[in-house]
């Protein structure tokens, strides 16, 4: 009996150590064995979750139970034995995982590719090696041993009839080749520029001083000014010079760090600042305003004249010639007998109006 009890006890201990493989759940788990995924839609025990000492144990048991269920499912699949290991082939996953990164954009086509697409030209595969009749061997189309083969082939180049007999045909060939490479490089860069929508000059080089527009020139001037100023040479502003404005100009100008937005001043401070600014503006008035001076002078003259006229009024009709020219500014029609006459002259002449 002792032995039986012992064995029973042992079994009991074992059972305590290993939990049963069957797990009771209120709702069935959603399982996706393909990705080894299990969703537990059952409610959590909020009481246990909130108690500090029991939370960990609860979560651990929950995880254990769910894992058990997943493994049970896996065991249902047909198993194989490969090298002392039991292997299961997982089915196709049913859960769709979202991409972590966006779908890559298609590469922009080069100008040739665009043209070929429009024309329906498809690339024809060429053999890498080609039989050369002259050399009597297989010559690669490009790459390794192509240059050597070329050299072997061109041990002599004939100078054509129409070309200067002293030209170096080897040099000519080399320059033609380098030109081809340069052209290809230029086209490559143009393709990149087009795909990035960068404006490039249609012909030739980037902007030079004779082709630059007004903003580019003014930017260049501002940059140059800032640069010389940093060397201690400060230039005066030209009469109608304007500060270069626009996107990216500030970054070009050395030493010009963009100012942070000043904090909002207090009302009193702001009022004081404004009043100071107004004072400065009002004191800055030009000292001599020529227009004003001239108009003042004219006004004075006019007043004087009108006073003279007034004082002369009592001697109406007599001393008019004496008083000099009196300009009448009224817009009325001129009347007869008011023209200028010079009685001292022998010949009185016609009436002038």
């Amino acid at each position: 009996m002792d032995i039986v009890n012992e064995i029973l006890e042992k079994e009991q201990k074992k059972a305590e150590k290993y939990k049963p493989i069957t797990v009771e759940k209120h709702l069935e788990l959603e399982l996706d064995v393909g990705t080894l995924l299990a969703f537990d839609t059952n409610d959590l025990d909020t009481k246990l979750l909130k108690s500090d000492n029991q939370r960990d144990a609860y979560l651990q048991s929950l995880a254990r139970d769910n894992t058990q269920l997943l493994l049970n499912k896996i065991w249902e699949l047909p198993t194989e034995r490969i090298d002392e290991a039991i292997v299961v082939k997982l089915p196709q996953p049913t859960t769709v995982l979202p991409r972590s990164k966006p779908v890559p954009k298609p590469k922009p086509l080069t100008k040739w590719q665009e043209f070929a697409k429009a024309k329906g030209i498809t690339k024809q595969k060429k053999d890498k090696l080609k039989w050369d009749e002259q050399l009597q061997k297989w010559v690669p189309l490009y790459g390794f041993r192509k240059a050597a083969a070329e050299k072997e082939k061109d041990w002599l180049i004939e100078v054509p009839q129409n070309v200067d007999p002293m030209t170096d045909m080897y040099e000519k060939k080399a320059s033609e080749k380098s030109e081809k490479v340069a052209k290809n490089e230029l086209q490559r860069l143009k393709n990149i520029a087009r795909s990035r929508k960068v404006n490039i000059p249609r012909v030739g080089l980037p902007v030079t001083s004779d082709k630059a527009n007004a903003t580019q020139l003014s930017t260049a001037a501002v940059v140059a000014k800032a640069s010389t100023a940093s060397l201690g040479k400060f230039q005066d502003k030209l009469p109608k010079e304007k500060e270069a404005r626009g996107k990216g100009v500030h970054e070009l100008i050395p030493g010009k760090v963009r100012k942070r937005n000043a904090p909002i001043p207090t009302p009193q401070m702001e009022r004081e600042n404004n009043l100071n600014l107004i004072d400065r503006i009002l004191n800055k008035r030009p000292k001599i305003d020529m227009d004003k001076a001239v108009s003042k002078h004219i006004h004075k003259e006019q007043v004087q004249r009108s006073e003279e006229k007034k004082s002369m009024k009592p001697v109406k009709g007599k001393g008019k010639a004496k008083g000099g020219n009196v300009t009448n500014f009224s817009a009325k029609k001129p009347k007869a007998g008011k023209g200028q006459r010079n009685p001292n002259k022998k010949n009185p002449g016609r009436k002038r109006r």
């Binding site: 009193q268 009022r271 404004n274 107004i278 503006i281 009002l282 108009s295 003042k296 006004h299």
Partner: protein
Amino acid sequence: MKVLSETRTRVLFEKLTKYIGVNVKLLIDRPDGTYCFREKKDRVYYISERLLQLAQTVKPDHLISAGTCFGKFTKTNKFRLHITALAYIAPYAPYKIWVKPSAEQQFLYGNHVIKSGLGRITENTPKHQGVVINTMSDIPIGFGVVARSTTECRHADPLATIAFHQADIGEYIRSEDTLV
């Protein structure tokens, strides 16, 4: 509502001094509370500190305007006075032009003031001075810039422009949607 930058404040005050001279100080130095200038979407608003604080409770996206619109900054950073500023400018303007009743309507349709429409003009008005334009019954109806000084006006022919039109109260109807 932003605080105006130093340069913009300068431009604004320079423009205002053209119209009201030394009296600009009276706009800021007021006995009935502190007033200040704020900008929103390039438009400058003259607003009391008390109202400003109330306006700050509104989300900037939802706030269209607060206070009185004085004008706006152009893309080239010049300041244009709007007719809405007339209420504050008119009482302080030292130089004025009065237009005859017959020429009032011409001006209110956005035309310049010509000599034949000129009723009266302040003595000694210099050239290019900002003026407030009144009717003969002393009702301000707009702003202008004098094209000829007072002395030159005497000799001008009847069709000559005396004041360039800047703003008039007709704009309340004509440019209702762009004003504020």
